[in-house]
Amino acid sequence: MPLADLLYRCRAIFRREAVERELDDELRFHADQTIGKLMRSGMTRQAAERQARLTLGGAEQAKELCRDARGTRLIEETWQDLRYALRTLRASPVFAATAVVTLALGTGANVVTFSGLNTILFRKLPVARPDELVEVTNRTHPPLPAFSYPDYRDFRDRNNVFSALAAYRFFPMSLNRGGGSQRLWGYVASGNYFQMLGEKAALGRVLQPSDDREDGANPVAVISFGCWQRRFGADPDIVGRRATISGHPYTIVGVTSPRFFGTEFFFLPEVWVSMSMVNAIEPAARGWKDNRGATFVWVMGRLKPGVVAAGAESALRGIAAELGREYPDQSGGMKLSVSPPGMIGGSIRSAASELAALLIAITGLVLLVACQGWNRPPSPA
């Protein structure tokens, strides 16, 4: 915008009354000149005034068009509205207080909704390079992203898009120490789970692939930092201690870092044991690990450098098609997709998006109610 234009508009805004007065003067001068001319041609003043009004057209309309030409109409009118609103508010304090409270509530509700939305939709797992992590979802079994363990093993061994592909499952467990039994949530995870996440232990070690090599051979457990503090009194000699988990003796080999909370935003697991111990953790479902029809595990992987999610998805679909041909009864018709981790696949994410949309609509309505109040101020008493 050239300087002249800027100066002109500034004057139109900040010296609005002077500009309006000048416009009045200018148009009145124009009308008077026209009347004078008509009178010189022999008309009476009355006739000349009437004729001038007819030929000139409405002065008000001309003024409106001039205001448009100033290019500041929006600002001027907003300013007028603001002043009107302030006058109205001062005239009725009760209404003003109501409006302020409604707006405050509406704004507050919006803030809460958006921060919730932020957590649900945009948060990342607090591990190394979280953008490389994807959760693999099988939509054949909604709403959970479930695979059978044998299928997982084939995806893990046949793909060339993941630097690691891990399987896990969470399960309620009991922890027995000195006679008392406590309920807690635990993860049963494949041996490469912590490697895939790039997570190191705060004390001792995390689970490693060798723990998962032979069924039942390595009854070792990793506990969360919170579990170590609350349930074990931050025992400095925790590594090597024995504990009974779901009725089976384990050795505690490590404590996770304080910020690590597993791989789901909704759970706070306290114990991790290797997949090789699953028959001890879930005796009732004994043998599911070898059953291609038992879709019990969730699958998460770290993409190789340079691989994008869509590329991983198509590679996985290729393997799923192979498996469908090899085991049509159990593995046929898998519908695979990948999504950012932490939300139990895409299923909860989309449900959460819908909930968030609903909440935003509701808070929006609260704000609308406030605005409706502004539009209909009470008539002055």
Partner: protein, 109 residues
């Protein structure tokens, strides 16, 4: 009074600039001058004249100042600026080119 013409979009600006190129005038005088030199073909109402004047002023092509009219009244006079003179040259050239081309096409058909 002969037949009145509707001014095509944009030509009023050009005519105002041309009128003011001779001497500073107030709005009413601009409309009188336009009627005279067009031999009453154009009649410019205040509803188009003043918005155009204000638009030209905003663009910095004309400059307004308050003065005293012949009949001793306060009146707002408009004068062409240096930028306005340049603009007038450019618009006049464009207009000549356009009208020549249109005329050529019409005569040809």
């Amino acid at each position: 009074m002969g037949e009145r013409l509707e001014l095509p979009q944009g030509t009023l600006d050009l005519l105002i600039l041309k009128t003011l190129a001779l001497e500073p005038l107030h709005g009413w005088a601009v409309s009188e001058r336009l009627e005279q030199i067009s031999r009453d073909a154009f009649q410019v109402g205040q509803g188009s004249l003043y918005p155009a004047l204000h638009r030209l002023e905003r663009r910095g092509w004309i400059k307004a100042r308050w003065g005293v009219s012949d009949n001793n009244r306060k009146a707002k006079y408009y004068d062409l600026t240096r930028a306005g003179r340049k603009q007038l040259g450019a618009e006049a050239a464009a207009w000549r080119k356009l009208s020549a081309a249109v005329g050529y096409v019409i005569d040809l058909a």
